[in-house]
Point group: C2
Chain length 411, copies 2
């Protein structure tokens, strides 16, 4: 999924940097910075968890006040700065103030993100002390972007970047995103951290609408373990530096083209997160169609995506399709057991027989099905034969490695 980082994919109007400032014990990067050359439009979608990390609370306030003149986002990994009491909020404020001083702007023009362990005081002095050293490293080049993308990782095993282009008014605009996330990943809110920069000219209100729309179809329909993070944040920044005309309404072809490109970036990042899910060895795509409504289809797709029994069956390449049907049945969506059809690994395993009549188990070749489920990408499809509702969701399989990673996360 990851894009090759070249000078061509970098949107104009932004500089990037990443470094090790001392939050992580190892020498891995833990501090990143995206800076807009001039005040730009910004949009954000944040966690729905009622326990919100201090940087989430602060960034939400800053987006509300300064969405049209944002300058930067400072992000650290290795510490979520969540459930850290009043000191935690002070730490996020100090970071914003320090970055604003260095860039010559107001603190509310700075967004803050943190990711890592919950409930441990953030050593904010290391961040504030490192920013002056990070400032001269800011650049618009592939290696700087890669440093940024590295600086946000926690249990991720690889950097996650995605890019897309679209044409607006005869000009090419670029979109580039990076994301982190591997555990505590759950749909129905903005998931994990992701940053998208673009040189399209998109007013903040339109950018926010586009980001929300796209998030619902990408980040919000992935799951690794069903746990919603306290720090989930997706941010988008639009510099307008491409020279393309401004995207005005939310109905024209310019908007639709931009949304399609944004969706490409966000979907690629979302799939990269699932593919790198803690301990994952398979990416699973779930398609539901024929539901009474899109929301019913969504409920079924995400319930299947959450099912530990479906996820362990995929881990074992076991064509145990009954678990898929059982998950659909407990989703709360309307469903007629006599009409449902189930495909697993591309093989129709349950459905109405050719001669008609109620759905039933269909004969299939066990060895062939097992072989298909050994593929890196596994498809699950459910057709309710009831209405026109449809939805897609993505998940990874559930392996013993997930347990190993999470039984001793802090130690």
């Amino acid at each position: 999924v990851s894009v090759k980082l070249t000078a061509r994919v970098l949107p104009r109007g932004f500089r990037y940097a990443g470094m090790h400032c001392g939050i992580k014990k190892s020498a891995r990067f833990d501090l990143g910075w995206i800076v807009a050359d001039a005040p730009c439009a910004a949009a954000g979608v944040f966690t729905t968890n009622r326990i919100k990390a201090a940087p989430v609370v602060l960034s939400q306030a800053h987006v509300r006040r300064a969405a049209s003149r944002m300058r930067a986002v400072v992000v650290n990994s290795g510490n979520a700065n969540c459930a850290t009491g009043p000191d935690g909020m002070q730490a996020s404020r100090s970071t914003a103030a320090a970055a604003a001083r260095l860039l010559g702007c107001q603190p509310e023009q700075i967004l803050i993100c943190s990711t890592g362990v919950i409930g441990v005081p953030l050593p904010v002095d290391r961040i504030v002390g490192a920013l002056p050293r990070l400032l001269p490293q800011l650049a618009r080049d592939p290696s700087s972007y890669e440093s940024l993308a590295k600086s946000i990782l926690t249990t991720d095993t690889q950097v996650k970047c995605a890019a897309a282009n679209c044409r607006i008014g005869g000009h090419t605009v670029r979109l580039l995103g990076c994301a982190k996330g591997s555990g505590m990943i759950h749909p129905q809110m903005a998931t994990m951290l992701a940053f998208v920069t673009t040189d399209a000219a998109v007013p903040a209100g339109i950018l926010q609408r586009a980001l929300r729309e796209v998030t619902a179809r990408t980040f919000n329909v992935i799951t690794v373990d069903g746990d919603t993070s306290t720090n989930d944040t997706v941010l988008a920044f639009a510099s307008g530096a491409s020279g393309a005309p401004t995207v005005r309404g939310a109905s024209g072809s310019a908007y639709r083209g931009f949304v399609a490109a944004l969706e490409t970036v966000c979907r690629d990042l979302a799939l990269a997160i699932v593919e790198d899910g803690e301990g994952a060895s398979h990416l699973v795509e779930i398609q539901v169609r024929g539901a009474a409504s899109d929301s019913d289809a969504n409920r079924i797709a995400t319930t299947i995506a959450h099912s530990p029994l479906v996820k362990t069956a995929v881990a074992g390449a076991d064509p145990n399709w009954g678990r898929i049907l059982a998950a659909a049945g407990r989703s709360g969506a309307k469903l007629d057991p006599d009409r449902v059809e189930v495909w697993f690994g591309g093989v129709r395993m349950y459905g109405r027989p050719r001669g008609g009549g109620a759905s039933r188990p269909l004969p299939f070749d066990e060895v062939d099905a097992h072989q298909r489920l050994l593929a890196k990408r596994v498809g699950i499809a459910v057709d309710l034969q009831k209405g026109r509702g449809q939805a897609r969701a993505w998940t990874c399989d559930f392996t013993a490695r997930y347990i190993e990673i999470n039984a001793s996360y802090r130690t």
Copy 2:
């Protein structure tokens, strides 16, 4: 948790038997039978999954029609007879008809339960062929009851039985239950299979009310993996053979005493299921208090109980209390982050400091906390300091063994 099976704990008016009839490949027992000496009162709570196994559909209809004159339940393990099409319903009907012929009653006086793999045709001829051989083995003695309790197991590693007594009108009445369940266990419905017999005299309507009330506080607040089975069934049978007077209203002390005894049996069985959860090495009790309402407390308790991150932290004895707080935050319940308090393994790890002010991480001894979390039973408590709502839930930890068991369940 399991009770010692002696002649003293066996309710009067019932006989039991279990055997191997050939559904499981190994020689393990797979067919059980409970027979009332005379028509008795019965009550049932069934799965809320919209995909219901054939025996669930049939038993629900039989309870509706014949709750006051039930004679028996026939149960098989090794095959759930679910998603098996029209043949599946025919198989359950044939079983009821065969048992009714042998007992000289109507088929609607027989309940049917099945548990095991989904979507595989039930070899019903083996059940129908075995019942005449099982009939002479029916007896009211501890070894017959143990045979029954064995015959319902699937991935369970041990037999689960629980007993209680209460006094009604100067008479002792006995309650005895057995259960199976180890995976596909999820609250908010009747979970797994459980059978309770009693020699109390309780009309079917009152018995149904008592069973529903008790299920909500026991079987419905446990979880192993969050997957709701298609075959979940809890049945209670009351013979009246104790000679105790009939429990008439649902408000008197006789009813309250009976409900308390029924709750003891159901809670012991529910905890036995969690303790024997697939791969489990710890039993976790979650207590929530100070919530705005009992339903808010319940939402938080069950969300914590479901969290794979909390469950893997317990597996690793890692005092990572931030995951508990994050789960509470995403539960949907009202919660003030500045007032919440969190205990893990009996240690207060997050809360308001002695001098006052907002909740924050509290210093604790890591080594001591790790030691406490190595105990077989681990407590989690959350106090919202908001209202008087409270709830309890139980779960087990999440270990690599769960994955092993479920990655190759059918093979």
